[in-house]
Symmetry: D2
Subunit: 472 residues, 4 copies
């Protein structure tokens, strides 16, 4: 089996920082320690940090929406992720409108065949009946151990509280983890309709029609349902101070509730949506206020928030002009679809590749979080919560050799020219970064070296996930 | 005009305690002060406290339920109230299944013709469409300024969040006050069905199928809807610690949210429902834990809870045996209807007459609240919140001469033999009370003297209420 | 006895709003109601609000400090107060450095002989020994029922926690109320010394050397001591969000803790101290941040804060230039004493006359608080808490006829030209007020009519206060 | 170098669980992974858990107190610790009454020469002046990076707030960590004196004279001082719900505050002090209520509390009767010293050996915390916080080979007969444990195998600690 020895680096895990060599054998980390291995390739990682490859627990690749599709597929998206240090992503499968989960699973499995990095799937549950309930345990057998539900998007994605409760109990029974998108769908629908009738069409109305308190209320509602179901629960993309207050309330009162936030919610506000190019910041839930930004930072610092996802779902700002990508000219309709009607702006922002470098600079370099907390937030916690541990999120022997060699001194002027997402803009345009991935390995294979790509279409593998995973 | 002078008493208002005479002219208090009025009847109230007649903001008289009817009607219920010091009640009108509010208003007005004390009405909104929305302002003209909604009782009484939000906005527009019954209807329905299927039929399952956290979650949901609607809101019968935590959270975060609790929630727990006669304690939301009892007391003490209602809705424990009442033998089916099926136990407890004496002893005599806070909680705050002020809830000149002369030294062994409710049990059986009404006046007329009744069928008057009332 | 009838006004009390006449006989309110009194003067108060005269529970008149003296004495200060609607003030007596409280009581009684409005005294306890402890009950006999202590000003005013605890227990025993100035004296002293050594001499260093969290910590410390002593306690001049959080924590956990804030803390921040004339805003505790301003407003709105004092302790900004006052040229050294050394700036701001008009406009006109809450905050609550009730703070018969006839429509461009304080600046310069006192009566005598003064030197009377007063 | 290979076990670190071999070379862990090492001893750890040796951050060995001495010295105490899985302890050096820290350091170094396991020292700072301040950085050079202070024990150990603040700033400057014992010394002294005067001499008065709220107040005070000093801070032996509330408040508001609790505070209450043998539970701060027990568990579960110490400071319950220990008859005066005067009962409980087994059963087996959290709480977090990481608290290559092989299925009836402390009682007498150490290694040497001791007097080594350690 092919061996590779990384010497002289500093291993950073979720709880430990240690100078140690690391041996890759085939696809696995086989040993760490003071290692003397004859006949093997050696990489000198002096002055570098060795971290587990990032795990982005929340992405949407190749997702049809509003008559177009999110502009990164499993190949381009995974590649962009890898440039930012991420080697595994969890995508969401849409439940089919009728019939078995199986229909969608096959469809998504097929989409993902081209994947450039490893991937797993969450299952959306947006429709419930006895057949759906009966089919849930079969998901576990296929390595899908999470059930995403929505308290918003009435008539499309939302389940009522009773069905969320039912799903949570099934989840508890089979060791699965419910995930909840927290907003108040009822109120949103009313406000949206009224805004349009009143002629309010600009991007900022996307935020104005989605009450911030609705996100907070839905967190407590979710906590209540989970408590009653005796299930753990995971809040996706927490974006408000009120929501964080309720996350803390739930956790301090014994609810097994975990929370994810996404980088944009730490930086941007509704004012960004008021800009002429405000559509770039459109996603759901929306950007909020500086008070919310600050609160979320404290939530990261004190451990109330356990993971950092991206909700990566990019669109071109101008999807009418073809741009070159992977050797072809691409024009995928994008944010311009919503000109004159904010409800038609495709929802989503790019971020899969930004996540780790942006959080390193803003979190670690600033002193807000430690390198270990960075690893926990971007990789290990998600691996543990989502049943990929110890295969992913770990530098321990036996783990997949998904490894980032991080150069803590590298300075980068960040923006669309550096980021590798298939889109024409970047939210962090002009941000000065310090610290960036230098080498990225996927199961032992070098896929990124500095700004060069060595990965291949289809080299990403599907990751079955284990039930009864950790509750953090 | 007939005059009556009450001399030498101590007036207790919501904020003041003062030795003063009080002059009644006709139906009104015409003056207070050091009064020398020739040719008038005089009552010497030395050693007694003069308080405004109580206002019970939450009663259900003559209410059809589960094939029977709440056993106090507007005559007997008002009379029982008066013996406890209460001279005005607010009853709830059921929205008709189809058609105009007007249908029900006429029905309820007719039921109340026999009323022995003054009364007003809240309107339940349990069905929404454009016609309903249009009719809302007409309620204000008729003196109905409150709109009660439910987050539970799916398919019967519940409105979804969107419709609650719509009603709240209408309320805000017309100066009305939304009121919300806070529980999670979805989860209750599921748990009830399962409990029955599992053969759980005893009274305690009423509590076990109604999650306490559901009540708390619904408070925050209500707060969110009110915040978004820019409406004030009133939480009825708060019964949990979690709910109180959320009341405080909402108020500290600027939501105009007020809360009511009821005496039983201060004293009783789910364990009472486990007794052989547990059905006596069945109402919704149910009795909870000692921790909840304690929390609600602190809510009363620190002002987080503004009013004390009763949710009076009595039934006989044994409705099969006729008992004598007002000179006739009465047998109204009661709690026995639910033998073998807790869902068929009529929901409700007696309390209209217990409210003031029980709170005086447990709250004032114990030192937890002041006499002024007692008046605020049992009369003035409700009068202000519900637009009856300054006609009711006040001892100020111009107010209706609804007056209780309270003997703070009177000792009473309380129970069904003393309370005047038309039912065969009392929740406070055996409680030692200190302090009790001695005289009760309704608009200047003596209706109670010690344990003797001087009121008459039909002397109660309908009270139109004013919009844009106080927010406390 | 001379009678005066105020007709057609609207009485505003702490809990009630009522159209009623009000009869003054001699110094007292003798009756309210629909009054027909022959042979009496009549004032028509149509369109006006009748409120109890304000009670400012926290003033420092004629107080020696830093080699000068606060520039309002009991005559000029009371007069300024009256123009703003306040008819009673509570001043603080300094405990003598050695010997009996009696020495200071006599001194302060003498200073106050010229008082233009009614007054009472709190007693500072800044030195403790067995003799002091023994003398405490004698204060009650003289109508001094409050004991002010400091957790700051080491070596001058501060008592250690043990002695605060001892005083609190004595207070509990004799029905007195401890009051606490909450800051962390130890840390302040260190920071001040260092700032001076570092050459930081400008006014803003006054704020920078007094940690905001120290104020919050001292609130919880005070709550703890009161809980252990089973005493009520009153926090003076609450100025921080952290402090308010702890006020709520204490109250929700059953501590009998009440809190006062002062108007400047609702409006101004440390940035005001950075201005060239920053010394104008110097007082202790200092102005803080906008977050603190906002928090204090919510504390007023939700009842966490019960009273509004002023800590009135004015100095001239430029005390070197004589100005004309009461017919003489006055030059009292003021803020200029601290040029070049912020620790020498006399501590204090004017405010006795601003309090009610400023709070009316910013609180009532803005909709944040009701007129009744205004009365509670500016008069009744303090009267109740400090044992002056029902003589003061009330419009009830038997109360002193301290009455403000308030014109809610009067517009005033406020500032030093309107305010009557004996100083050369006003913190609210340029503020547009709506609502202002039109007539002010002190025990039945008209002392202010619009901007005209009818009071007299020495007409203010000492007010003995009752122990075992209300806990709100 | 001698090698030892532990095969087939499951490594448990603070964040990871992984099947892996582990190689010990000499005193170090040299590698983990799938290891094939010729010519080495092999231990088969199938079915066993491999954890880093425990680190008890809070012990008092050989500590003179009240005319006697804590009954475990560095030999017996370390041995008892090892039987429970702990391989490193941090003891506290008393600052000498006069003169240099160096005097005490030498004394403590000498006491510890007999140590059976590794050890480090915290330095008490109980006296402050310029010399003390100047000497602080020299401690860092000697590997003492923590400064323990007390808000209680006036006149003996306490520093006033100002001096705590000064020490904290020095700590911040030199990368040291202040630690604070949180109680209100002033109030304790008063209550103790009074209790004795009133003839209250039994053990429970120890608790009754130490207010629980005083502990909570001191947490916020400490947080405030740390915030102002911009220093991290560590709260020792948190024992109250109010204290935990304030820990959370501080952390959510950005203070770098960490907290330790000790096992007894999770199990015992003041009622245990009311027993005839109540003296067994005497330590400071004292046992509190069941509400406090419950709160502390939630603090462990949600991460608000980061470490589990013991405050091990054992005394014999009956120190008059010699017992056999290490081959000699020992009689060390103990709890009986306080017969008839609770203030003379030596303060402290045994616990150094109980800590890990008791927490495993009550925390991990019960499902409250994960095995990883167990390792974090008992070893890794303390190693990181106290600058011993990555040498201690880790299973990573390069770490000291301090290893516990834990048998998760071992059942033990716990009590004094099993625990190895040199005392005649155990607080957990009769507790049924599941999970217990089977093998314990100290720097590669086997020191415990089941109930057999292989360690030696003096084999423990002094551990210099690094400054600027982690903040969790």
């Amino acid at each position: 089996m092919k061996k590779l020895l990384i010497k002289n680096g500093t291993l950073i895990t979720a709880s430990e920082t240690i100078k140690s060599d690391l041996l890759i054998e085939g696809e696995k980390i086989s040993a760490i320690g003071d290692l003397h291995v004859p006949d093997t390739g050696v990489i000198d990682a002096s002055g570098k940090l060795i971290m587990p490859g990032g795990l982005d627990p929340h992405v949407h690749l190749d997702l049809p929406m509003f008559g177009t599709v999110s502009s990164d597929d499993h190949y381009t998206g995974g590649k962009a992720a890898a440039f930012g240090g991420t080697t595994t992503v969890l995508d969401f499968i849409a439940q089919p409108d009728t019939g078995s989960f199986q229909i969608s699973i096959e469809e998504w499995m097929q989409k993902a065949e081209k994947a450039s990095i490893d991937y797993g799937f969450h299952m959306n549950v947006t429709r419930m009946d006895e057949n759906v309930l009966k089919e849930i345990p079969s998901l576990v057998d296929q390595g899908i151990t999470t059930l995403k539900m929505f308290t918003a998007y009435n008539g499309r994605l939302r389940l009522d509280d009773g069905n969320i409760f039912r799903v949570m109990r099934a989840a508890a029974e089979f060791g699965m983890l419910p995930m909840v998108h927290c907003e108040n769908g009822d109120v949103i629908d009313i406000l949206v309709e009224e805004a349009l009738q009143a002629g309010h069409t600009t991007p900022v109305w996307h935020a104005r029609t989605r009450p911030a308190w609705g996100a907070g209320d839905a967190v407590l509602r979710t906590a209540m349902l989970a408590k009653q179901a005796d299930a753990p629960v995971y809040i996706v993309h927490l974006n408000t101070r009120v929501g964080l207050d309720q996350v803390r309330y739930a956790r301090e009162n014994g609810v097994k509730l975990m929370a994810e936030t996404c980088p944009p919610y730490l930086f941007f506000t509704e004012e960004h949506l008021e800009r002429p190019d405000g559509a770039k910041w459109i996603c759901s839930p929306p950007m909020r206020s500086e008070e919310d930004n600050r609160a979320l930072w404290t939530g990261l610092e004190d451990g109330s928030i356990q993971t950092m996802g991206t909700d990566h779902c990019p669109f071109f700002f101008d999807g009418t002009t073809p741009i070159e990508y992977e050797g072809e000219k691409i024009a995928i309709p994008g944010k311009e679809l919503g000109k004159g009607d904010f409800t038609k702006i495709p929802n989503g922002t790019p971020g899969i590749g930004d996540r780790m470098p942006v959080l390193w600079t803003s979190g670690v370099v600033s002193g807000r979080i430690t390198p270990n907390e960075f690893v926990a937030l971007t990789s290990t916690n998600a691996a543990r919560i989502f049943g990929l541990y110890p295969r992913k999120g770990s530098l321990m022997p036996g783990a997949d050799a998904d490894i980032v060699v991080w150069d803590p001194n590298k300075k980068v002027d960040y923006g669309v020219a550096v980021a590798q997402h298939r889109t024409d803009y970047n939210l962090y345009e002009g941000m000065k970064l310090q610290g960036f991935p230098e080498l990225v390995f996927l199961r032992g294979k070098l896929i990124v070296e500095k700004q060069q790509w060595f990965g291949k279409r289809g080299m990403g593998q599907y990751q079955k996930r284990a039930p009864r995973a950790a509750i953090l």
